[in-house]
Amino acid sequence: MRFINPVISAVLILVLSLPILASETEAEKPVYVDLDGDGLDDNRIDFRDGFLIEEEDAESSGSSMGGQSVDFFSSVAAEVEIELPLTNKDRFYERKFSTRGISSNRGEFGGSAGESSSAGKTCIGGICF
């Protein structure tokens, strides 16, 4: 196993970082869950996965998590907050969020992490790369 060194290094990083990060934890925080495997708590905002979950500290800190939500019109939009009824699309997104751990498997492990679509694949003799 030529990759034993990187694996050991990764495990060491994970284990050594435990005491440092554990001290930041508060009892009231929701239970950490990571079903999609990116390491981030699924209870927090995650645009890349196509889900928009309200983050708990957005109002207090005045900035969104990692700043990935850039609202160019925030000065206009922030004046009045009206709670609109959820649409079919919103409800479906909520349901789909609960399936993030079961909607795919790791049988095809090894694909490019960056590919967002199967389009543009190269094919020869009917076989696509």
């Binding site: 495990v11 950490y32 495997g37 700043g67 399936t99």
Partner: protein, 429 residues
């Protein structure tokens, strides 16, 4: 070309009309444009590079809150390899009948994906059928929250990849009179490439522990039919000219043997948060064939008859990944992966004496051209996204993807490096 442009234009018009008609609550439209520089198109020693551009349009409809229907249209144009330019069309239906608050979750999805390649047959003689395939897939899966920190899941997926039939003329015996037989030509449809049917079963569990750490274990079993050649292919008397290129595609594929191919995989994954804005994970994957047919082999890419099973392998690999929101406005993720793969025995059109391409294979070299293919692949990937939302629910996402891979193989054809840069702009409303 005109047909493709027209179909895309009509799709845009229909979707725009639907959006204007006040169905935005039930409809989501996504448009994207992609530019890509590929360093090694075919992932082999040819090192064919190209630039390609893609325009895509996706419509997602939500007739009820438990279902999503989607239509995807994408046109990809290659600058130098124009025969690869194609229109992709995809239809999907996804249903989640269980509530997001339920401890039990069910998920159904199914779809069809096809490609229509630019018709260059009349212009160059190259066949667009070389690249065509139709893909069908369906998945049903379910999960159960045993406790707030422990979840179990089970899933089943079926995938079918179908290749087009081609017209061919075969000679069949016919009775001319009471005693005399003649061979008459008959036009038949024969499969271009054997279709692939794969079934996957997977079971897994996910547990959170030590505050911000998650452990996930998945075990899977996959089975499907396997078309391959066996020993008799090289039992033809030595010295007889036996060029693969002279066999003809239909003969080459229809003469293959069908058997079953099964494998299982085990994949543990550990992930944890490094603070509030960064996550890391380490995934290991081990895959093993259960009953590979002995003495079987498949066509490799240099034979011009590449097999759908040429990319099937057993072995193991590890991938380290990270994702961070540390830089304001950006989502950055990356991964480093290492794989050791043993593929099915592959036949290549390579002269065993010189190691160079030899398209005019003889029976002798077919025997010697069969080789065990063991690869070591390293891959590095970096993705940078800039998601932008507005109060009008307009979502924009420019992105940059860098992907480097290096592959070493016991068969020289597959010694390659590839560096691909992709830029994409996506808009969703």
């Amino acid at each position: 070309m005109m047909r493709i442009v027209l179909s895309v234009f009509l799709t845009v018009c229909i979707l725009a009309s639907a959006a204007a008609a006040g169905v935005a609550d039930y409809l989501e439209i996504e448009a994207k444009a992609r530019a890509k520089r590929v360093g090694n198109l075919f992932k082999n020693w040819d090192e064919v590079s190209d630039n390609l551009g893609m325009l895509g349009l996706t419509a997602r409809v939500y007739p009820v809150s438990i279902m999503e229907l989607s239509v995807v249209t994408e046109y990809t144009a290659y600058r130098h390899n124009s025969s690869l330019s194609n229109l992709l069309y995809q239809f999907n239906a996804t249903a989640v009948p269980t509530s997001q608050d339920s401890r039990f979750t069910m998920y159904f999805t199914g779809g069809y994906k096809g490609n229509s390649y630019k018709d260059i047959e009349a212009e160059t003689g190259a066949s667009k059928n070389d690249f065509s395939s139709k893909n069908y897939n369906a998945t049903v899966s379910m999960g159960y929250d045993i406790s707030p920190t422990l979840r179990a899941r089970l899933g089943y997926t079926v995938k079918v990849t179908a290749y087009p039939d081609i017209k061919d003329t075969v000679l069949v015996p016919a009775l001319m009179n009471d005693t005399e037989w003649v061979m008459i030509p008959l036009e038949v449809l024969v499969p271009m490439v054997p279709d692939r049917h794969d079934h996957e079963l997977s079971i897994g569990a996910n547990a959170s522990f030590l505050d911000q750490t998650s452990f996930d274990l998945e075990v899977g079993y996959r089975f499907g039919q396997h078309s391959h050649m066996v020993d008799w292919w090289w039992r033809i008397p030595l010295g007889q000219p036996y060029s693969i290129n002279r066999i003809g595609r239909d003969t080459a594929y229809t003469s293959q043997i069908e058997s079953n191919l099964q494998w299982y995989y085990v994949s543990p994954r550990i992930s944890r948060a490094m603070g509030d804005r960064t996550g890391i994970s380490c995934t290991y994957h081990y895959r093993k064939f259960l009953d590979p047919c002995e003495h079987s082999y498949v066509f490799g890419s240099t034979t011009g008859l590449i097999s759908p099973w040429a990319s099937v392998y057993e072995g193991d690999g590890v991938q380290l990944s990270f994702k961070t929101y540390l830089i304001k406005g950006l989502t950055i993720s990356g991964s480093w992966g290492y794989w050791e793969k043993t593929f099915l025995t592959t036949l290549e059109a390579i002269n065993p004496m010189t190691g160079e391409l030899d398209a005019d294979l003889t029976t002798n070299s077919i025997k010697e051209g069969r080789g065990d293919r063991d690869d070591i692949e390293r891959r590095l990937n970096l993705t940078v996204l800039l998601p932008i939302t507005t109060h009008t629910d307009l979502y924009m996402e420019p992105s940059l993807i860098l992907d480097y891979s290096n592959n070493h193989s016991t068969i020289a054809v597959y010694d390659y490096t590839d560096f691909t840069i992709t830029t994409e702009f996506k808009i969703k409303f």
